[in-house]
């Protein structure tokens, strides 16, 4: 199906999120959309898939203008969107999820749906048990399920938003294989990403957005240097790495045991020094999140001793840890770390030390302006936090961190962010290290882990590897451990 966007404009308040976007995607093409965070990629895709409406502009499918009122209308017109976090229903079975959105009376035909699901699985070489519950699937498998569901609903245009984050290399290969098959069936694919290599490997043509505008397009073969230039407008310096571990221990775990909903972790011994960065690698849900939360006092340990700056904090709450200079930054920024509805200035006031009973709003505004400048946040003191883009929300979180700090625990510090933000955020984190803070972070991006950590721990099904020196290990070695190879029984 041929997709044409003509003169799309979208404003959020004063922010011109899409500025006159015109783009033609021929039938059966894999179109890459590149751009840094806040460039307007998500906005454009949400307009195309009916989640939000353009202020002006036209969408044409196979030459016919369409009005996409809602996601339901979009799928009716043949546009299906695969979200970064699959929009499925984890407590339901695979087959039930597969049938969602189907028209057809009070009594759905499970037998026929099961047969069709089997047929689709065979066609794309997927292997998901229809009777399994979705919450037991990996992100990659949930993606596969969503792809089949959208196909079953008659999607002829697939929008994929950052689909390669959080899935394994094998699943990524399979995903790309599937998308290439779509080409033969004249299905159009729109692939939104900030990973250049993925775009290069997969796409036929690429469009680059920057600050709401379409700044360039390119056909195969791509000139990577030029693409980076189009995305950022300037050269991006990479962060430098330092391996300076002083001898003062900030955090010490001694035979600690943790029990999560699904995992039990026993006898963890771990310590981290001032200024050190430790990366936690592993498939999602292998225990890294439990580990981080246990280090912050957000979940209670069931055995052993946790010491922060040589003080025994075992069994204490997060607020006690906070008093001793520990901060936790969750991956779900808007859901867990910021209060939607409150402004940037109000967040800074909340994070600062309280002075008296009454708030000095003027001081709060000045504080916000100063932080917005230092942390390069695109927003105003009165902007509600939910109006910021993901990268700017992450910058805000960093700017909320107090001084001085002993330990920063970060979940996916740069998930979904563009290269410039990544470099910026790591620059700020490394600054903290120089001031004596230790950092423990988890990431599904091995390159990030290797680039920024001093030591690496690999998690597999609740087990923790011995620490690797980041300079002496490589993707191959870590990858095998993440996949479950090389663990002595």
């Amino acid at each position: 199906m041929k997709v044409e966007l003509r003169g799309i404009h979208k404003y959020f308040g004063v922010n011109h999120a899409n500025d006159d976007i015109t783009l033609t995607i021929p039938s059966g093409t894999i179109q890459g959309i590149l751009g840094e965070n806040g460039a307007g990629k998500s906005t454009l895709m949400k307009i195309l898939s009916g989640f939000i409406h353009a202020d002006s502009g036209e969408v044409l499918l196979d030459g016919k203008p369409v009005v996409i009122e809602s996601p339901a209308v979009a799928i009716h017109d043949g546009i299906g969107m695969l979200h970064q976090d699959p929009l499925d229903f984890p407590p339901m079975r695979v087959i039930d999820n597969f049938m969602l959105g189907q028209k057809g009376g009070l009594f759905p035909n499970r037998v026929r749906a099961a047969r069709d699901l089997r047929r689709l699985q065979k066609e794309f070489d997927f292997d998901i048990d229809p009777e399994n519950y979705v919450d037991s699937l990996t992100v990659g498998e949930r993606q596969q399920l969503e792809i089949m569901r959208l196909l079953y609903l008659g999607a002829r245009v697939f929008i994929l938003d950052e689909p390669t984050t959080g899935i394994s290399a094998a699943q990524k290969d399979k995903l790309f294989e599937t998308l290439k098959k779509f080409r033969e069936q004249a299905i159009t694919v729109i692939f939104v990403s900030h990973k250049l290599e993925d775009v290069e490997k997969l796409c036929d043509q690429v469009a680059v957005l920057r600050q709401g505008k379409l700044v360039g397009a390119m056909d195969k073969p791509f000139d990577q240097k030029k693409l980076v230039e189009m995305m950022f407008g300037k050269e991006v310096p990479l962060g430098t790495k330092q391996t300076a571990c002083q001898d003062r221990t900030v955090l010490n775990l001694d035979h600690v045991s943790i029990e999560g909903m699904r995992l039990k972790m026993k006898d963890i011994d771990f310590h981290i020094c001032e200024g050190e960065v430790v990366g936690l690698a592993g498939m999602e849900g292998s225990g890294q999140d439990l580990f981080l939360r246990a280090c912050a006092g957000l979940i209670r340990t069931v055995g052993g001793v946790v010491k922060v700056n040589d003080r025994d904090l075992t069994g204490k709450s997060y607020h006690t840890y906070k008093k001793h200079g520990v901060e936790f930054l969750p991956a779900a920024r808007l859901e867990q770390a910021l209060a939607p509805g409150l402004t940037l200035a109000e967040h800074f006031i909340l994070a600062e030390k309280q002075t008296g009973v009454f708030i000095n709003h003027e001081r709060g505004r000045r504080l916000a302006e100063e932080r917005i400048k230092t942390f390069n946040i695109k927003g105003a003191p009165v902007s509600p936090v939910e109006s910021l883009s993901g990268g700017n929300q992450q910058r805000t979180l960093l700017s909320l961190l107090r001084h001085p700090l002993s330990l920063v625990l970060v979940e996916h510090p740069t998930r979904g962010l563009d290269i410039e933000s990544v470099v910026y955020i790591w620059g700020k984190l490394k600054e903290r290290c120089k001031q004596g803070a230790a950092i423990v972070f988890m990431s599904s991006d091995l390159d990030e882990i290797l680039q920024y950590s001093d030591r690496v721990l690999v998690f597999y099904n609740g087990r923790i590897s011995h620490p690797f020196d980041a300079n002496k290990t490589n993707v191959q070695q870590l990858g095998e451990l993440i996949g479950g190879k090389g663990w002595d029984e």
Binding site: G13, Q336, L342, L350, V357
Partner: protein
């Protein structure tokens, strides 16, 4: 900015028109003349006595609203406010009964009894809060249950231990001697003290929510519980505080009902001000000071409808119909405004 304000006023005006329009249809359906009825409801507002009557019900309504604004800020639906008013009234009655024969100064006893009412209201709210924070019982269900308990307890007291000499009756307990009533304006049923307490209450809440760390933290808890916790706010303590404050303010409303209006405990002492307060709080949406005129308007509807059964043989619950319609349409208009207004 100016454009937005104008726009908002336009939509709200439309909402008023629609609410009165639908209410008129209801009136027409039962064969009454809307014009005549609205005239009777509002026309009589002209007299000094009538305005005083409206203010008599405005004061407790404003106090209940003030309390609810605090729990709203914390993201809580404190339906239990009715019971908290009732409990406040019970607390006040208890202290007055205990001390009415003592040698203490009557004014001091009244002050003490109002304080006891606030304490009792806070206590009842704390129960709903404890159920929520420690028992995982949603405050709506907990509050509703506690409302029934409070009502039952009032009826038990009125007909049991605190009944009038002879037999208990729905008209309540034995009225207190006159020196235990809050002083009234000359020739009116309105007490200046009730007005003072109500205005102090709403100004206090307005200030608390707009200008203090406590208010901002409370809002953070209400907007995102988990983020507030990570920001270092002791979340459950703040929730409990908001329940306590709301309980104290609605307890004060109950205390006024006893000391300034009824001078005794009656079975329906809360007069539905709690539920009405929920509507006012929803309408003013954090703007505490706006509650002053809105509560006045709602109180005026209540007072205006008292005549309806006598003059028009209509049930006085018509004011409830009108109030409900107003809330519905004003919220609807706000939603429509946000949807229809182009963002620029």
């Amino acid at each position: 900015m100016k454009h937005t304000t104008l726009n908002r006023i336009g939509f709200q005006f439309l909402a008023l028109l629609l609410a009165f329009g639908i209410a008129s249809l209801v009136l027409l359906a039962v064969g009454a003349s809307p014009a005549q009825i609205y005239k009777d409801m509002f026309g009589s507002l002209g007299t000094k006595g009538k305005i005083a009557d409206v203010l008599v019900s405005w004061a407790p309504l404003l106090l209940a609203t003030a309390g609810l604004l605090i729990t709203f800020a914390a993201g809580l639906w404190n339906i239990g406010v009715e019971g908290q008013i009732t409990f406040g009234a019970i607390g006040t009655t208890l202290v007055l009964r205990l001390l009415q024969n003592s040698a203490m100064n009557a004014g001091f006893i009244i002050a003490l009894s109002i304080f006891a009412g606030m304490l009792a209201g806070a206590l009842w709210a704390a129960l709903a809060g404890a159920l929520k924070t420690f028992g995982g019982v949603n405050e709506i269900f907990g509050g509703l249950g506690l409302n029934f308990v409070a009502t039952a307890l009032t009826i038990y007291l009125v007909f049991g231990p605190w009944k009038r000499p002879g037999t208990g009756s729905m008209s309540g307990t034995q009225p207190f001697p006159e020196q235990f009533n809050l002083p009234l304006f000359e020739g009116l049923r309105l007490s200046p003290w009730a007005l003072i307490v109500a205005v102090v209450g709403i100004v206090f809440v307005s200030f608390l929510l707009q200008g203090t760390y406590f208010g901002l933290r409370l809002k953070a808890v209400g907007k995102n519980f988990r983020a507030a916790y990570l920001l270092g706010i002791p979340t459950w303590q703040y929730m409990m505080f908001s329940f306590l404050l709301c309980g104290a303010l609605s307890g004060a409303a109950g205390a006024l009902q006893v000391t300034a209006v009824y001078h005794r405990l009656i079975p329906s002492i809360s007069s539905g001000y709690g539920y009405l307060g929920l509507m006012v709080a929803m309408l003013v949406n954090y703007q505490a000071i706006a509650a002053i005129p809105v509560a006045f308007f709602f109180a005026a509807l209540n007072i205006g409808s008292i005549q309806l059964p006598i003059v028009h043989k209509l049930d006085s619950s018509f004011s409830g119909v009108l109030q409900g319609l107003l809330v519905l349409f004003i919220l609807l208009a706000e939603g429509a405004r946000q949807r229809l207004t182009p963002k620029a």
